[in-house]
Amino acid sequence: MISDWVQQYGDDLYSWAYHKTSDEDQAQDLVQDTFLSAFKSIEKFKGKSNPKTWLLSILNNKIIDHYRNPATASLSLESITEQQGMLLTDSMFDQDGSWSEQKINPLWADEGSLLDDIDFSATLAGCINDLPGNWKTMVVAKYQFEKDSHEICDELSISLSNYWQILHRAKLMLKKCIELHWFKK
């Protein structure tokens, strides 16, 4: 079955990997790794989702890992726990709940040009990876699979208010991470 998928979806995966990495060799390696991983975890593939969607989700994880290593390796501490994430984002505010950092980082002034910047993508990928596990799962569910809030809450067994609170924390952490790691090149 997987051999058929190589024929059927190989080009699409390769196009996507190339689009994300701008490197033919790396894109090929990513595609090969994707099929090998898919093969090993084929029992996790529930026939209810489209094979291409499933393969793309594996590929996207490989792309994130690829960005993480080595370009963004310095980004990550140990993977942090949810509790550490709460403390870290708490520290962005003082006791009254005002921003600890009162200056607006100049990087945000030309945010428009960042979206197409491959180095920025790498930084962002590293930052996504540094989120606590649950937060990352939620972010991926929301943005990769474009699931709606209620669906995500059901799947993760959390309330809607829990959901936007975590989303808030995750966004704060991404903001901080981007401010710390971008422009340091």
Binding site: D11, Q28, G97, L167, K171
Partner: protein, 89 residues
């Protein structure tokens, strides 16, 4: 703290809440007031929108799929993958 005044921490969380559900009238009013006065939260509002866009772009497996340039793997490379798969089975 004045009852009319939100802290920046609360305001920034309401910005996120607003994106997933409706705010109560009071919350909505307080948030609008806060944003009209607080430059840093106003900036945060646009930063979080930017982060939204960047995350969609980075992670989405559907959005861009139609706009990306089609590339093809060579037959040799596909065969190579299939051989690797056979080896690991």
């Amino acid at each position: 703290m004045n009852v009319l005044m939100l802290s920046c921490k609360k305001a920034s969380s309401l910005i996120e809440k607003r994106s997933v559900s409706n705010l109560t009238l009071v919350d909505g009013f307080q948030l609008r007031m806060h944003l009209s006065m607080c430059k840093i939260c106003k900036a945060y509002e646009s930063q979080t929108k930017f982060i939204d866009q960047a995350l969609s772009r980075q992670l989405s497996s559907t959005n861009e799929a139609e706009n990306i340039a089609a590339k093809s793997l060579s037959k040799e490379f596909k065969d190579k993958i299939i051989i690797e798969l056979d080896k690991s089975s």
